[in-house]
Point group: C2
Chain length 153, copies 2
Amino acid sequence: MKIEDELKSTVDYNKSTRVVLNLMYTQNVIADSFNEIIKPYDISGEQYNVLRILRGQKGHPANMCIIQERMLARTSNTTRLVDKLLLKNLVTRNVCPENRRKIEVLITQKGLDLLTELDPKVKEHEESFSKNLNEEELIQLNTLLEKYRTKIN
Amino acid sequence: MKIEDELKSTVDYNKSTRVVLNLMYTQNVIADSFNEIIKPYDISGEQYNVLRILRGQKGHPANMCIIQERMLARTSNTTRLVDKLLLKNLVTRNVCPENRRKIEVLITQKGLDLLTELDPKVKEHEESFSKNLNEEELIQLNTLLEKYRTKIN
DNA sequence: ACATAACATTTGTATATACAAATATAAATA
DNA sequence: TATTTATATTTGTATATACAAATGTTATGT
């Protein structure tokens, strides 16, 4: 559906505006649908994102800086995000002995189990959208997005 | 820049995952850059969005339902969003005489002036990204996004 | 060694958002 | 006309986020 119709606009946007609105709107559609999936598991999208980052560490601890720079949305508060995960025993948190400024965050077995349970649902979610495009179009969309966002100085 | 590099991933994502992450991440880049623009004017992105909807009404009042269905992100609280705009005298709010359940929201001259001042900056913002693509690619990106998000039942 | 700067994280506070329940009005039905 | 249902908005509450300032630790320069 055209973005103008989604947003009930009576006038057509120009191409530059359309891309911005299309991107913002599409991201919202994806995020809403994703939130439906994780809602029963009582974690937020951001919390899920952190768990994924920690699993990607493959046993190596991640400090706050690392988590922050790998997150989709650079939240200003990784501390409180990790707090929430800690309360649910999905991660552990310890002061790094080599550099006491740093905090070592690790995913627990419970956290890994949660991700394993979610994996097929997340895969299904991703594919429910991507199946609307063929292989070539998927590659094209990825390429265009990467090209689009890159600010040239 | 590849999404894997942006998110400091050591492994490559599959195509479906890449699109989701690319979309989420790109939206964040755009939103962050947009927030920079409006920050000096002391309004949030959502508030700007509501003002744009109200200007689009061309003098016709909009009620809460209309505002909500035209917003990029369907916020669960249009009331408090309009509250904020009201405090800054950017909109007026009145009970609709024909249907006292409805609220008529109108943009004020002050609100229109603010938008006029922001217009060139917003245009520049949109074009700073879209200039990375040529005409054909822009059309392609819009088409792919519209196709991608459309859930087939 | 001491002062200063840089780094990593946390905390305070104000604002924003999500969700459900409450309120108020209008329309439909018996 | 009284009752129920539907519609439109608001409010309460809990949680999340943004931003700046504060804290604690390590590195650097004199």
